[in-house]
Symmetry: C2
Subunit: 310 residues, 2 copies
C-alpha cells in the first residue's frame, strides 16, 4: 500500500494548558481538525499533495484564530502585510510572495506565482499587481480587522517593540500556518503562510516565504513547513537543512528534525518548531517551545490533533 | 602561516572574447583587479572578512560596468530596484535588503540591517526608511542613469520580456556582484549585490538577498556568493547546498562546487556560477556559462583576474 499523509501547524510558542480556557482549546482543536481533514480528503480522493496543502492552508488563513490571511496581526502602520510560499517536491518548482496587503489567501497567490510566472518570489505592490492580473481575490481592511489583534497592537503601537504573535508581552508565540503532504503518487509538497509579527516595521521579511528557510519540498527527502522566530530560521536555512541531513547523512526524518530543532536551533537561541513528512510517509512535528498547534492524518488512521507537549 | 583570501565576481553569462573589444576587456579587468586588491589589502592589514567583502562590493557597486549599485539595470517602470545581502561566517548573523531604490550602496545597507536591527531581511520602502534612520547614503535617479543600460531597456520596455543583464537578447548575462573572504583570524564572510533583471516587474526578488540561496557563510565550511539565473538558485538553495555537501558529505570545496554548479544546476537548466572560499583558504570559481567576471587573491600570491573559460 502506498502511504499518504498530511500534517499542518498553526504556530508555536508559549502555549500552555494554563494559557487557554477549555473553550478556547476546543475551538483551536476543531479548526485544526477541520483543516487537516479537508487536506486529507483531497489525498484520499487521489488529489495531489499541492492541492492538499493549498486546501488546508486556505482554511487556516480563513480562520481568525491563526496569524495568516484573515487573522493576520497588525504592522506598525496598522496594516496587514502577509507572506506565503508553496513548493512542489516533484519538480522543485516554487512560488512565494512577501509583504502583500489585502490578499484574501496569500497561499493562492504563491501558487499562481509558481504556476504562471517565470519567477519564484514577488513582493509588495508588484505582487499585488500580479494578483490583479491573475484573478486573485482581494479583501478590504475590514475583512482583516479583529478586535483581539487590534487590542494587542494598541498595547505596543507607540513603542519600538514588536511581538511575534498574539501573546502576552513576555511570551512568545510564532504566528504562522503551514501544511506538508505526501500524495498517493509519492509526490511531496509544502506550504507556509503568515501575517508576520505584531507591530513589525521596515517591511521585514521572515522565513515563511524563503525557499529553504521556512518552506521546502523535495521528493528525494521530505517536505517541511516551519514556524518560529524567523530570523533564526533564515540564518540556519532550517527547512533545507532537514532535507540535507536526510540526503547527505542518511538521517531518518525524525533524526534530521531532532538535530535541527532540538540541537542547532536551541544552540542559536531560535525558538519554534516545524512539521515534516518524508517520501515514505513518516511524519515529524518537533518544537522546542512549550506548545505548537498541530495536526496530522496518515492513510486511514485516526486524526491526531495536538497543542501542548504530549 | 594562516591563509587569507578574497574572491569576487561581477556576473556570469555568454561572455566570450568575441563579445568584448580589447578595450572593454581591459576596462573590466582593471575594475576587477582594483576591487579584489582593495579587499585583499583589508585582509593583509589584519581587517575582518566582513570589512573586506564590503570594501570590494562597494567598489563594484560604484562602477557603472556591473549590474549593482550605480550600474543597476532599469526595471519595467524605468527605475532601479536593488537587492543585497551580507553574512558573517563566525556568528551566522546576516543582513539583507530587497527591492530598494536610490540607495548608493545596498551592501552598506545590508550590513546596517545585520548590525543594527533585530531582523535579517528588510524590503522596499521599509528598508529605505531604515536606511534614512541609519545614515545610509541616497542618490537621485541621475546617479543611476547610464546610456547603455537605458538603450538596453528601451529595446524591451514595451514587451513582457525581461533580460538577465546587459546582454544581447539571445544571450544571457547575469548581472550581480559579490565577494567572499577568509581573514587572518579564520573568519569567513560573503556578500552579494544586484540591480536584478532588465525590465523586471512585479517586484521580483531573486537569489541575491536570500540567505542560503545567493549568499551564505559559515566558518565550519565556506563562504559563497552566487551569480546566475536566480530562480534556479533559489529552488536549489545553492549557497547552502555547497556548505552542506562539505559539512555532511565531507566534500572538498572544489568537489562541492562542481557537484552543485556543473551537475545539479546544469540538470535543472540553471545557468550561472559562484565564487567560494573555504575555511582553510581554498578558492573555487565555478561557472557553467561561457564566462564569468571574476578575480581572487590569496596571501601574497599574484592576483588572478579572469573573464572567459581558461
Amino acid at each position: 500500500m502506498t502511504n499518504f499523509a498530511i500534517a499542518i501547524h498553526g504556530g508555536a510558542g508559549t502555549i500552555t494548558a494554563a494559557s487557554l480556557t477549555s473553550q478556547q482549546e476546543k475551538v483551536y482543536r476543531a479548526a485544526l481538525q477541520e483543516a487537516v481533514e479537508a487536506g486529507h480528503q483531497v489525498l484520499a480522493d487521489g488529489g495531489s499533495s499541492l492541492e492538499a496543502v493549498e486546501v488546508a492552508v486556505v482554511l487556516l488563513e480563513d480562520s481568525p484564530l491563526f496569524n495568516a490571511g484573515r487573522g493576520s496581526v497588525f504592522t506598525k502602520e496598522g496594516k496587514h502585510e502577509m507572506d506565503a510560499a508553496i513548493m512542489c517536491g516533484k519538480t522543485l518548482e516554487a512560488g512565494a510572495v512577501a509583504g502583500v496587503k489585502n490578499i484574501r489567501n496569500p497561499v493562492k497567490l504563491s501558487r499562481a506565482v509558481m504556476d504562471h510566472s517565470d519567477h519564484v518570489m514577488l513582493s509588495g505592490y508588484g505582487a499585488e499587481e500580479f494578483a490583479r492580473n491573475h484573478g486573485i481575490a482581494f479583501e478590504n481592511e475590514a475583512y482583516f480587522f479583529d478586535a483581539f489583534r487590534y487590542r494587542q497592537w494598541s498595547e505596543v503601537r507607540d513603542s519600538n517593540m514588536f511581538m511575534l504573535d498574539h501573546s502576552e508581552k513576555k511570551d512568545e508565540k510564532f504566528g504562522t500556518v503551514g501544511a506538508v503532504a505526501l500524495d498517493k503518487s509519492g509526490n511531496l509538497a509544502a506550504s507556509t503562510s503568515t501575517g508576520g509579527m505584531t507591530n513589525k516595521n521596515y517591511n521585514r521579511i521572515g522565513d515563511t516565504p524563503i525557499i529553504g528557510a521556512g518552506t521546502y519540498a523535495n521528493n528525494a527527502t521530505c517536505a517541511v513547513s516551519c514556524t518560529g522566530h524567523g530570523e533564526f530560521y533564515m540564518r540556519a536555512v532550517v527547512a533545507y537543512d532537514v532535507s540535507c541531513l536526510m540526503e547527505y547523512k542518511g538521517y531518518s526524518l525524525k533524526q534530521a528534525c531532532e538535530e535541527v530543532v532540538q540541537r542547532k536551533l536551541v544552540n542559536m537561541g531560535g525558538e519554534g518548531g516545524l512539521i515534516a513528512v518524508s517520501s515514505n510517509g513518516d511524519v515529524s512535528l518537533p518544537f522546542n517551545t512549550e506548545g505548537m498547534y498541530r495536526a496530522f492524518k496518515r492513510n486511514k488512521e485516526k486524526t491526531f490533533v495536538g497543542i501542548y507537549k504530549e
